[in-house]
Amino acid sequence: MLDGLQEILFTLRQNKLRTVLTAFGVFWGIFMLVLLLGAGRGMQNGIYEDFGSDVLDFIIIWTGDTSVAYRGMAPGRTIRLRLADIEAVKQQVTGIRVISAERFVESGNISYERKNSNSQILGIPDEYFRIKEDVPFNLGRKTNLLDLDESRKVVLVGSAVADRLFGKGEDPVGKYVRVKDVQMKVVGIFYDKGNRGQNSERVLMPLTTMQKIYGGGDITNNIWVRPEKGVDGFELEKKVLEVLKRRHDVAPEDIRGINSFNMAMPAKNVTGLFIGINVFIWFVGLGTLTAGIVGISNIMIITVKERTKEIGIRKALGATPFKIVSTLLLESTLVTGVAGYLGLVFGVGLLELVAFGLRSTGAKLPYFLNPSVDFQAAITAIFLLVGVGILAGLMPALRAAKITPTEAMRAE
C-alpha cells in the first residue's frame, strides 16, 4: 500500500504542472459548491432570522367582538377565552403537542431604585416555555411549577427591560423590582427577538401570581398550540377553532370573534423557496464539479497513452491487470481527493472569514446571516469526491488493463 502510494506520488511528480492544473479543476468545483451552499445557508439564516425566536409550527388563537349574528345572538358580543377552553380542546382534539395559555394585563410601570420602564406584563403557565422553546434564557432560570403552585412573586425580565433598569452587563438575578407597585424578585432574563426585539420589552410572571394580584379568574388572552410531529398544523388549527367557536357560540365563518394565525403558513413558503434554491445550488455546483471530473478523466487517458510502454513493461514483469487498474484508480482518487479536500477547506475557510467579518464589524446585510456549510453537506462532498475520483480514473484504467505487453513494448 505504502509502496503503491510512493509509485503514484512519483508519477505525479513527473508531471507537476499537469497534475496541478487538473487538480485545480476539481478544487474549483468543490470550492464553488461549498461557497454556493454556504451562501444559500447564509440567505436561509437571514430570512429565518426575520421569523424571530419563535418555533416554526405554532398556532396562536385570540378573540375579539363577534361580527356575525349566530343562534339568535346579535353581533358585537365580546368573546373571552378561559382556561376551561384549553381543557376542553385538550380532551376533544388529538394531535396536540403543547397547548398553553397566555394572559396579559395592561402595560405598567416596572421600577428598580430610581429607574423606570413601561412594560407589557404577561402571566404564563409552565407549558408556555415549550411554545417559546427557542427563546434563549441567558441568565438565571425560568419560572417553574413551584412558582406556579405557590403563586410566588417572581418575574422573568426581558433583556431590554433589564438593560434599562439595571444597566448593561449588570446581573439582575435575585434583585427586587416593583411591578405595578408590587415588590417582585427577578429570577431570570430572556432575549426574544420577535417583533423586532419588542418582545424583549416584556415581563413574565407565573399565571397564578397574576391571577392573585390582578384577579380576572381563569381568563386567558391567547391560546398557543403546537401540533405533534407528523400532525398537519392546518388541520389541527381547524379542529381547535371548531371546538372553541362551538363553546362560545361563534359562527364558524366569524373571524372577528375568534381568530388565529398559523406560523406553518409562512414557514412552508420559505421552506419551499429554500428547497428550490438548494436544488439550484447543487445543480450548478455539480455541473462545475463535472467539468473538473472530465478534466481529470481526459488527463488520465493521456497519461495511460503516454505510459503504454511502461505499463507493458510492468505487465511483462508480472503486474496483474488488477494491480494496474488499482494503481491508476488510486492515482486519480488521490488527485481528486487532495484537490477536493483543499477546495473544501478553502471554501469553508472563506465562508468563515466572511461570517467572522460580518460578526466583528457588526455589519448587517439584508437577508444574509452566518454563512456556513453544515456537517452533512461536507460529508456528502467528501463521499462525492472519492466517488468522483474513482469514476474519473475508471475508464482510463480499464483501457490500460487491456494493453497487451507485446504491443506496448513495441510502441516508442
Binding site: K315, G318, P321, T404, M409
Partner: protein
C-alpha cells in the same frame, strides 16, 4: 522445462488469416542454453511471445515448468511471468524514471516482497552483473551495455525458471556484445535455463543448441550439447 507440441498461431486481419506458426514441436530441458534463429518474418518473435506467456496460441499445447499454458486469464499469465520467467529485451525496457536498483527490484515489488528485502536482493544482483557502484544511476546515465546488465539483473532477481533473451545484443557495439554474451553464459553455468533469440550466427554458435525457425516450422540443429571447452 519447456514442451511445445504442435503449436499453431494465426494472425487475423479482417477476413485474411496469416498462418505464422505451423505446428511447432519443441522440447527444452532444464539447464539448457538454447538459441532460436530465424530471418525476420519467420515467426521468431511470435514464438518468443508464446514462450513468454505474453501472447496466446490457437492450437497445440505448451507446458512450462509443469504448468499448462493454455488460454490463461491475464491475471494468471502475469503471475506465471512473474514467477517463472525473466525477460531480457533488445531495447532494454528499463523504466526511465527509476534508478538501476529500483528497476531491478520491480519484479519483486509485484511479488509483494517487502522494501528492505527487495533493495537487498536488487543490490545483490547488481553486484553479480558488476554494477554495484551504479545502483543509484538513472538509465540515461548508463551506457548500452550497462543498461543491458541492469536488465539482466532484473530478469534474474525473482529466481525465474527460464530466462528469455530477445536479441539481447541487438543494440550494442561489439565490445559490449562480447561482455553481455559472456555474462549470459556465466549465468547459464550457474544452472539457469536460457533461451536466446538472435539472428547473429556467432552468438548462436556459442549456445548448446540452435533452433532454426523457417516458414513457421522449427528444426533443431544439434540434439546434444557441445562439450564445455568448445562453448568457451
Amino acid at each position: 522445462m519447456i514442451k511445445l507440441q504442435d503449436v499453431h498461431k494465426y494472425y487475423r486481419t479482417g477476413d485474411q488469416s496469416l498462418h505464422v506458426l505451423k505446428g511447432i514441436d519443441l522440447h527444452i530441458r532444464e539447464g539448457e542454453l538454447v538459441s532460436i534463429m530465424g530471418s525476420s518474418g519467420s515467426g521468431k518473435s511470435t514464438l518468443l511471445n508464446i514462450l513468454g506467456v505474453l501472447d496466446g496460441y490457437d492450437s497445440g499445447s505448451y507446458l512450462l515448468a509443469g504448468h499448462s499454458v493454455n488460454n490463461l486469464k491475464e491475471t494468471e499469465a502475469a503471475r506465471l511471468r512473474n514467477k517463472l520467467l525473466g525477460f531480457v529485451f533488445q531495447s532494454f525496457n528499463l523504466l526511465p524514471f527509476k534508478n538501476a536498483a529500483e528497476n531491478v527490484a520491480l519484479p519483486l515489488y509485484y511479488q509483494g516482497v517487502g522494501r528492505k528485502e527487495r533493495n537487498h536482493r536488487a543490490e545483490q544482483f547488481l553486484d553479480m552483473v558488476g554494477l554495484s557502484d551504479r545502483k543509484d544511476f538513472m538509465p540515461n546515465q548508463l551506457s548500452g551495455g550497462q543498461k543491458q546488465r541492469v536488465a539482466i539483473a532484473r530478469a534474474l532477481v525473482a529466481n525465474p525458471k527460464v530466462i528469455l533473451a530477445d536479441e539481447p545484443t541487438g543494440q550494442l557495439d561489439s565490445q559490449s556484445t562480447e561482455d553481455i554474451v559472456s555474462l549470459l553464459k556465466d549465468i547459464h553455468r550457474r544452472g539457469n535455463t536460457m533461451i536466446i533469440v538472435t539472428h547473429e550466427q556467432d552468438i548462436a554458435d556459442q549456445t548448446e543448441r540452435q533452433i532454426i525457425l523457417k516458414d513457421g516450422v522449427a528444426t533443431s540443429s544439434r540434439e546434444f550439447p557441445l562439450p564445455q571447452a568448445v562453448t568457451n
